[in-house]
C-alpha cells in the first residue's frame, strides 16, 4: 500500500496534477473571477481542440512517429463540411460524418506512406500539412462562397452541440473531452491494439518478429489522429459558426507541446493518455489564467515555453542519477564548509 502511494507520487502525472492545482490556486488569488465555475470550466471551449487532438497524437508519438499535420486536417474538415452542406445540399450530420471520413483518409494517406515506405514521419506529415491545407483551398474553390468569407449560417442544432452547458456551468466540450479521454485511455492502455502500439514504438523490428502487423498499427495511429483532428474541425466549425480553410492552422506546436509535456517520449514506446490530458489542461489553464491576470496574449508564449523547459528539465535531471549525486555531493560539500 505504502509502496503504491510512493509509486503514485513519483509518477509524472501526479506532478502535472499538482501543477494544475497550483495554477488554479495562484490564478484564483490573482483574479477571483477566475474561480467562478462557469468561467473556469468555460475556458476549455477555447482550447478543447488542442486537448482532443493531442490525445490521439499521443498514439502517433508512442509508435515513434510525429504528426504535424493535424492542424491542417482541422481546416480541411471544416471547409469540407461547409462546402458539402452549403453547395452540395448534404445534410449537416451526414456532412460531419463525411468530414470524419476525410480526416481519417488524410491521416491514413500519410500513415500509409510512413508505414510502407519508411520515410521519416516528420517529413511526411510536414508535406501533409502543406498538402491538406492546400486541398482545403481547393475544396473552398468548389464553393460559390469566396474563400475568405467562410461559410456560415449552419442549422441551429449543429451550432448547439458546442453551445450547451450542463447546469449552465460545464460546457459540452468539456464532457466531450472527458469522454474522448476515457476512450483514448481504454484504447491505448486497456486493449490489445494499444499494447501493439507500445510494442511497435519500443522496437518495431522485434514487433515484426512477433508477428504484429506493424505497418497496419503505425498507419492506424495516423488515421486516428486524423479523425481526432476532423472531430476538432467539426467542433470548431460549430463553435465559431463558420467553416474556414484556415481553422486550426496555429494548433501544430501547442499539440506537440501538450503531448511531450504529458510525458510521451518522441522516441516512442513511452507515454500515457492521462499525462497528455493533464498536460493539455495545464497549458490551456496557464494561458487562460495568465490572460485573466492581465498578461497580454502576445507574451503568453514566454511562460508556456518556460514551463515546458523547466518542468521537463527538472524531471530529466531528477531521473539522472549522475547529476543528482553530483548535485548532492556539491551541496554536501558547501554545507560542510559553512
Amino acid at each position: 500500500m505504502k509502496r503504491n502511494i510512493k509509486k503514485l507520487i513519483f509518477r509524472w502525472e501526479f506532478a502535472l496534477a499538482l501543477i494544475l492545482l497550483l495554477e488554479i490556486i495562484v490564478f484564483g488569488r490573482l483574479n477571483p473571477r477566475f474561480l467562478k465555475p462557469r468561467v473556469l470550466f468555460g475556458s476549455i471551449n477555447d482550447f478543447v481542440s488542442i486537448c482532443i487532438i493531442s490525445l490521439f497524437v499521443t498514439f502517433v508519438l508512442i509508435t515513434g512517429g510525429m504528426d504535424i499535420q493535424a492542424g491542417s486536417i482541422v481546416g480541411l474538415t471544416s471547409i469540407s463540411i461547409g462546402v458539402l452542406w452549403n453547395d452540395f445540399g448534404v445534410n449537416i450530420w451526414v456532412a460531419c460524418i463525411l468530414g470524419l471520413l476525410i480526416g481519417a483518409l488524410s491521416g491514413a494517406f500519410s500513415g500509409f506512406l510512413i508505414a510502407f515506405t519508411d520515410v521519416q514521419p516528420m517529413v511526411v506529415t510536414l508535406g501533409g500539412s502543406f498538402l491538406y491545407s492546400g486541398l482545403a483551398m481547393v475544396v473552398s474553390n468548389l464553393s460559390e462562397v469566396e474563400a475568405y468569407k467562410g461559410i456560415s449560417g449552419f442549422p441551429q442544432a449543429f451550432l448547439a452541440i458546442t453551445k450547451g452547458r450542463i447546469n449552465g456551468i460545464i460546457p459540452f466540450q468539456f464532457l466531450m473531452f472527458v469522454a474522448l479521454s476515457f476512450l483514448a485511455y481504454f484504447l491505448l492502455h486497456r486493449t490489445k491494439y494499444g499494447r501493439k502500439i507500445f510494442l511497435c514504438g519500443v522496437n518495431r523490428k522485434a514487433a515484426e518478429y512477433c508477428g504484429i502487423h506493424t505497418r497496419k498499427v503505425v498507419m492506424s495511429t495516423y488515421m486516428l489522429s486524423g479523425m481526432s483532428a476532423a472531430l476538432a474541425g467539426i467542433i470548431l466549425t460549430s463553435y465559431l459558426g463558420t467553416a474556414k480553410t484556415d481553422l486550426g492552422k496555429e494548433l501544430t506546436m501547442p499539440i506537440i507541446t501538450a503531448v511531450v509535456l504529458g510525458g510521451t517520449s518522441n522516441l516512442g514506446g513511452k507515454g500515457t493518455i492521462l499525462g497528455t490530458a493533464l498536460a493539455s489542461l495545464v497549458i490551456g489553464i496557464l494561458r487562460f489564467g495568465l490572460s485573466m491576470s492581465g498578461v497580454n496574449t502576445q507574451y503568453l508564449d514566454i511562460p508556456v515555453g518556460a514551463l515546458l523547459i523547466v518542468s521537463v528539465a527538472i524531471r530529466s535531471v531528477s531521473s539522472n542519477d549522475r547529476l543528482v549525486s553530483f548535485i548532492k555531493h556539491r551541496f554536501k560539500r558547501s554545507y560542510q564548509k559553512t
Partner: protein
Amino acid sequence: AQDITVVFVPKLTGNAFFESANVGAQEFAKDWGFTVKYDGSPEASVANQVTVINNAINQGMDALCVSSVDATGLDDVMREAMAAGLVVTTWDSDVSGDARSIMVSQGTPEQLGKMLVDMLAESLTNRGKNVKEDEIKYCWHYSQATVADQNSWHVAGEAYIAENYPNWVNVAPDNYYSEQDAEKAITVGEAVLSAHPDLDGVICNDSTALPGQAQAAQNLGKTKEDISITGFAAPNSMKDYCRAGVLERWGLWDCQIQGALGCYMAYYLASGNEVKVGDVIDVPGIGEVEVHPNTVLDANAYTADDSGVVLLPERTVFTIDNMDNYDF
C-alpha cells in the same frame, strides 16, 4: 463613468498597421481619460480572437473594439459579450451588423478597390501610358486567399477595372500570395517580374506584400519608369522606396485616427451614452462624425437604430510630396 477599459483587438499583433492604430488609440485615450488594453495574438485566426474576446468578457472589461479576421466567425462571441454587458464595436474589419453596435470603417470595399485601381491608373498615366486604350498588363499580389478585407478590395477592384478599363489584362487572375512572410514577398515579387517581363503594374493590397514587391523591383533594377507598383502600406515602410524612385504612389488611411475613434465610440457608449443612426457626435480632437446606417457598406446589411457605421478617416494617397507629413 469612471475607469473604463476598452479592449482593443487587432487581427494580429506585430503588424505595422495594427501597431500604428494602437499607438493612435493609446495617445488619444490618454487625453480622453480611459484605458485602452491592446490584446491580440501573433497569429491571425478566428479561434485566437474568440479566446481574446472571451478573456475580456471573463475579466469583466467594459468595452470591446475589434478588427475581425472573419466576417461571421466572431458573431456568437460578440453577442455573448453584449449579453454580458460589454459594449461591442468594430473597426477596420466588420462582423455581422447585429453582433456589434458601431463600426468605424475606412470605407467600403468599392471605395478601396477603386482607390487601388485609380492609384495604379495614375501611376501608369504619369509614365506615359494611355490607360484607356493600351493593353495594360497587371496583377495583384497580397497575403492570402483567406484574408477577408484584402480579398474584398481585390474583388471590388476587379469589378471596377472590368467596368472602366476593359482593355486591361490581368496576367494572373488567381493572384499571387506571400502569406505575410516578408522574404517570400520578395521572392514572389522577383518571380512575378521575371515571369512577366512585359508587366505594367502590380497592385499590392497588403502591407507586407507592397514593400516586398518594391524591394524585388529594386533588386532587379526596375524603377517606377519600368513598372508601376502601388498598394496599401503604412507610409514609413515605403518612404525609402519612394525616394529611391521605385514606386510613385501608394495609399492608406490614417489608421491612428481610426483606432482612436473606434475606441472612443466604445468608450462613449460604455459611459452610458446612447447612439442612434443619424446622430452626429463631436469627438474631442478629431471632430464631428456622423453615424450612418449599416447599408452604406453593404446594401443588404442588417439595419437597426442602435447599429451603425462611422465612415472615417479619409483615405490618403502618399507621394514623394506629402509622405513626410505622416509618421506611422
